[in-house]
């Protein structure tokens, strides 16, 4: 049984201009102790997917449909009270911007302690001891003294470590990390990623890693979900995504990875802008930007289908297998040539 099983998840926002379909029929599952990477451009619906699972969208203007079964209980139909018990305890979340995600007027120690006291029946002293333990685990020097510091006395990377400590403090089964390294500089990014990989070994949590950075996916994920315009367009184990990508959008993402080891004069980019989710294009939502576009792409939205020969690999594209394999091979050959 999967730890988290998401079925046909839809999240629509009511706005003054109409209904925005931010997530439109997403399916995936996360197994215990494994890492799922969700990749896509800004606005592709990857963050909203996770906020919906956590029940953190603004209720007033949100319509949610589908199921999100966590240990066989539907998070979307749960009472607010029961959901609060799960949040921060069984499922924890790390956010993109550590500079704004901690409350500026409370001491770090109190914010960590709050997370413990909300879910565990322990004394304040025990909660504080647990906070020290976690700060040490995430590599904050002089942890005991730093508990009494305020967020503004920490650097960005240190704050993200605090956020990770806060997320792991109740030993959650699932950790959702929403672009945890995007706001950090490159060296800090690597440190935080390594920290998360190591902590996953110690804590055994499953992770959903939301990112637009395929490099992060390659380093951390077991499985990958590629999202485009509120839909999943490709889904596969991580090595398949890099070995045999089966969807022009994924090719674009791979092609736009900067490489330091070659002298490519310019990056391949995906032309155009992601579509407005108020009025998504008819047919395949990627068709206005797709270099391989055919007539059928403008009329029929391709379903997510099993890729022949690759178990566990799903892709949504009308292109014939031959072309796809040829293009994927070209991309791989290019990458190998560059690497050698």
């Amino acid at each position: 049984m999967a730890l988290l099983e998401v079925r046909d998840l839809k999240t629509y926002f009511k706005t003054d201009d109409g209904i925005v379909k931010a997530v439109d029929g997403v399916n995936f599952s996360v197994e215990k102790g494994r890492t799922l990477g969700i990749v896509g451009e800004s606005g592709s619906g990857k963050s909203v997917t996770c906020l919906t699972i956590m029940g953190l969208n603004n209720k007033k203007n949100t319509i949610t449909m589908g199921e999100a079964l966590f240990n066989d209980q539907d998070l979307l139909r749960m009472s607010p009270r029961r959901l609060r018990d799960i949040r921060g305890n069984d499922i924890a979340m790390i956010f993109q911007d550590p500079m704004t995600s901690l409350n500026p007027v409370h001491k770090i120690g109190n914010q960590l302690r709050e997370a413990v006291l909300l879910h565990q029946d322990v004394t304040k002293k025990q909660a504080r001891a647990r906070a020290v333990e976690l700060l040490k685990a995430v590599g904050i020097p002089r942890a005991e003294r730093r508990l009494d510091d305020y967020p503004h006395q920490f650097s960005g990377g240190m704050r993200q470590r605090v956020m990770i400590a806060m997320a792991l403090i109740n030993d959650p089964d699932l950790l959702i990390a929403d672009e945890p390294t995007t706001a950090l500089d490159v060296t800090t990014q690597a440190q935080i990623l390594n920290l998360m990989i190591n902590l996953q070994k110690d804590f055994g949590s499953a992770i959903i890693m939301i990112t637009h950075d395929l490099g992060v996916v390659a380093e951390t994920a077991d499985d990958v979900l590629v999202m485009y315009a509120a839909e999943v367009v490709e889904q596969a184990p991580v090595e398949d995504i890099f070995r045999r990508p089966h969807m022009p959008y994924t090719w674009g993402l791979l092609g736009s990875l900067p490489r330091l080891d070659t002298e490519t004069e310019r990056l391949v980019q995906i032309t155009g802008q992601p579509p407005s989710m108020l009025r998504p294009p008819a047919g395949c939502r990627f068709n206005p930007r797709c270099p391989y576009v055919m007539d059928i792409c403008k009329q029929v939205n391709p379903p997510l289908e099993q890729v022949t020969g690759d178990p566990g690999h799903l892709a949504a594209c009308h292109l014939d297998e031959e072309t796809k394999d040829k293009e994927a091979a070209k991309l791989l050959a290019g990458a190998l040539a560059e690497a050698s």
Binding site: I86, T100, S101, V105, H106
Partner: protein
């Protein structure tokens, strides 16, 4: 911290000198002659000359200002030279029109204004904090729209007009509240029989509301905006993701942050309260600083005007200092150095 306070106090002295000089200059630019007024109906040149000398108006302006300043400073350099006490009571001078010490006038009027301003501040907070928070939690609801209508009316209505309407409705038509007049909180002054906390409170209800409505309106709008803004902060989402209940999120994470600017504004508005008090005191005939100030201006009574300006300046400087220290205490990001 100590250095910060010392620096602030030194600036306060500079500010104080500047404000009093400006008041002096403005007063002497007004084409009025207090000496002629002192002579009454039969103005003769001799009388005016005598009155001028008596009031000290025949000396140059800077000498007059120096004398004023010398009286105000609590150190007696002259006395020290002769082996007396080095300290003396600061004096604001003597009124031109009735020869009473200004100190006494200010001391009698200040508690009235303080009652009005502090009670008013409590009133406007009691009105604006709940309305502001509730309308932020339910934007575009009936309550929110009602609150915004109140804000518009509150900002547009002048306190004098409001005061007259309140008096007409609640005191003249329906005899629920008294028609003006002020009652001391403790002992009754000569010529007045009413005193005591209950009477004090009862007589101030209408003035408090009149005085507060403008501020209440401004604060509803400010608190609503602050709470709405804070609700969308990332750290509020973090608190929810931790599993905190909505009421806990509100108390511990939203309000603490949303009220920070309110504290600053409150300090400034209380200090500036004298300005608004002028209208309310005159409508309700409250013997406070505002009414004394208007009377002194009508009588060209410079010492009283100057005395109230001095008192007001000191109050504003003092309040701003208190607010800054308080702000540093509640917002850890602010360090006084």
């Amino acid at each position: 911290m100590i250095r910060y306070i010392i620096r602030r106090l030194l600036w306060a002295v500079v500010l104080f000198v500047a404000v009093t000089i400006v008041t002096y200059v403005i007063f002497f630019l007004i084409p009025a002659d207090p000496a002629a007024r002192a002579c009454g109906q039969q103005v003769t040149p001799e009388c005016v000359a005598r009155a001028k000398h008596y009031l000290g108006l025949d000396r140059p302006v800077y000498v007059q200002y120096a004398k004023f300043f010398g009286r105000l400073v609590p150190f007696d350099i002259h006395g020290l030279a002769h082996g007396h006490e080095p300290f003396k009571t600061p004096s604001l001078g003597i009124s031109f029109s009735n020869r009473q010490p200004v100190n006494g006038i200010v001391v009698r009027a200040a508690p009235v204004t303080a009652s009005l301003v502090f009670g008013g501040a409590i009133t406007w907070l009691l009105i604006s904090v709940p309305i502001g928070i509730l309308s932020a939690l339910r934007p575009r609801s009936l309550l929110d729209r009602g609150a915004m209508t109140f804000v518009l009316i509150g900002i547009s209505a002048h306190p004098v007009w409001l005061g007259l309407i309140f008096l007409y409705l609640f005191a003249f038509k329906v005899h629920v509240f008294p028609l003006g007049e002020y009652c001391n909180m403790f002992h009754a002054p000569a010529g007045s029989s009413c005193a005591g906390p209950v009477q004090w409170f009862y007589h101030l209800i209408l003035p408090w509301f009149t005085y507060s409505i403008l501020f209440a309106a401004l604060y509803v709008r400010m608190i609503r905006a602050n709470v709405i803004e804070t609700l969308s902060e990332d750290y509020v989402r973090t608190a929810r993701a931790k599993g905190a209940s909505e009421s806990r999120v509100m108390r511990s994470h939203v309000l603490r942050n949303a009220m920070l600017p309110v504290v600053t504004m409150l300090g400034m508005d209380i200090a500036l309260g004298l300005g608004g008090a002028i209208f309310t005191e005159n409508v309700y005939d409250l013997p406070g600083l505002g009414r004394a100030l208007v009377q002194s201006l009508n009588n060209f009574d410079l010492p009283i005007t100057q005395g109230i300006v001095v008192f007001g300046t000191v109050a504003i400087i003092g309040f701003n200092l208190v607010v800054d220290l308080l702000y540093a205490a509640i917002d850890p990001r602010i360090r006084l150095s």
